[in-house]
């Protein structure tokens, strides 16, 4: 994650989260309509499954290439930001980038469980992703930041000493 310490307009991730929340909500709706078909081929061919595969790819893009290079991030930078006043302050890209990783994890777990035939796997995973994206977009609440702190405190996640302590 080379963009770990870069500074971005905080409204960019909120815009991306809004787009993501709408797509995830559509995915949850499709998953509810589609249910869990009996065969693997039937489960792979579902619109809900395909949409969540695309969403997982988008989360992976944000998590590994950085939120600034994410498609919605680029739309924000090119189309929306030029029409807005400058932001009050910039935010570290680490938080939204980590959040993309959390989204990737949750959606991937949902996809795998769905393939294994677990009923409502995509509905539950999609609902969790929706709550996080919605809170981020509408209320500027960073659920991933809370998770990061809990993971660090419990010792699951070991921060790189240089990345965590140096302001650069």
């Amino acid at each position: 994650m080379s963009t770990r310490s870069s500074e971005i307009d905080p409204r960019g991730p909120r815009f991306s989260a809004a787009v993501t929340a709408v797509l995830v909500l559509i995915g949850v709706g499709l998953a509810l309509v589609g249910g869990t078909p009996a065969t693997i081929a039937g489960r792979i061919g579902q619109p809900a499954f395909l949409l969540f595969v695309v969403l997982a790819a988008l989360f992976a893009w944000g998590a590994f290439a950085g939120v600034a290079r994410h498609p919605w991030g680029l739309v924000f930078k090119r189309v929306i930001r030029p029409r807005l006043a400058p932001p009050a302050e910039l935010e570290n890209a680490a938080a939204p980038t980590f959040a993309q990783g959390v989204g990737l994890f949750v959606v991937t777990v949902g996809l795998v469980l769905h393939l294994a035939g677990v009923p409502f796997a995509l509905v539950v995973a999609g609902s969790a992703a929706f709550v996080a994206a919605f809170l981020n977009s509408v209320f500027d609440y960073c659920l991933g930041c809370q998770l990061y702190l809990l993971l660090v405190r419990s010792g699951v996640l070991r921060p790189k000493a240089s990345a965590a302590s140096s302001p650069a």
């Binding site: 309509v33 302050e89 570290n92 930041c145």
Partner: protein, 144 residues
């Protein structure tokens, strides 16, 4: 599944998320008290002469920069205050002692380093200033 059931489930999802968000907004920047058991001087940081704004931050934190800006401006306006920012990974002792569950969390310490109040989440300037009135000695009122 019936279409109307799907619509109800999706609407419920949006409603629950909105309720969570409103709850968060209600508790944001709320001032808490420091438990009596934890009322002892914080060690290992440079204190301001009248008080210290101790901010806990982490590498993954969206509101830390805004809080830093506000606290720095407050301490610049009042030179007897000092703003100190610590990363949660550098001071796990303080993090577990004060049970820091979110970043930023701000502790306001008096001149001896004893915490007197605690602000969870991003701070608002007026909330910080209101908390400071208790520990700052008022400026002498000019006699006419």
């Amino acid at each position: 599944m019936e279409p109307w059931t799907v619509v109800i489930v999706l609407a419920a999802l949006v409603a629950v998320s909105t309720a969570l968000g409103l709850l968060y907004r209600l508790t944001r920047s709320r001032v808490g008290t420091v438990a009596a058991a934890r009322e002892a001087a914080v060690d290992g940081i440079d204190l301001g002469s009248q008080g210290t704004l101790l901010q806990f931050s982490s590498a993954v934190c969206s509101a830390c920069a805004a809080t830093r800006r506000i606290l720095e401006s407050v301490s610049t306006d009042n030179p007897s205050l000092r703003h100190v920012e610590v990363d949660v990974t550098d001071r796990p002792d303080l993090v577990s002692r004060f049970n820091i569950l979110q970043t930023p969390t701000t502790l306001i310490l008096d001149h001896t380093g004893v915490p007197v109040s605690r602000i969870g989440g991003g701070v608002r300037r007026e909330v910080v200033l209101a908390q400071l009135t208790g520990i700052l000695t008022p400026a002498p009122t000019p006699k006419i």
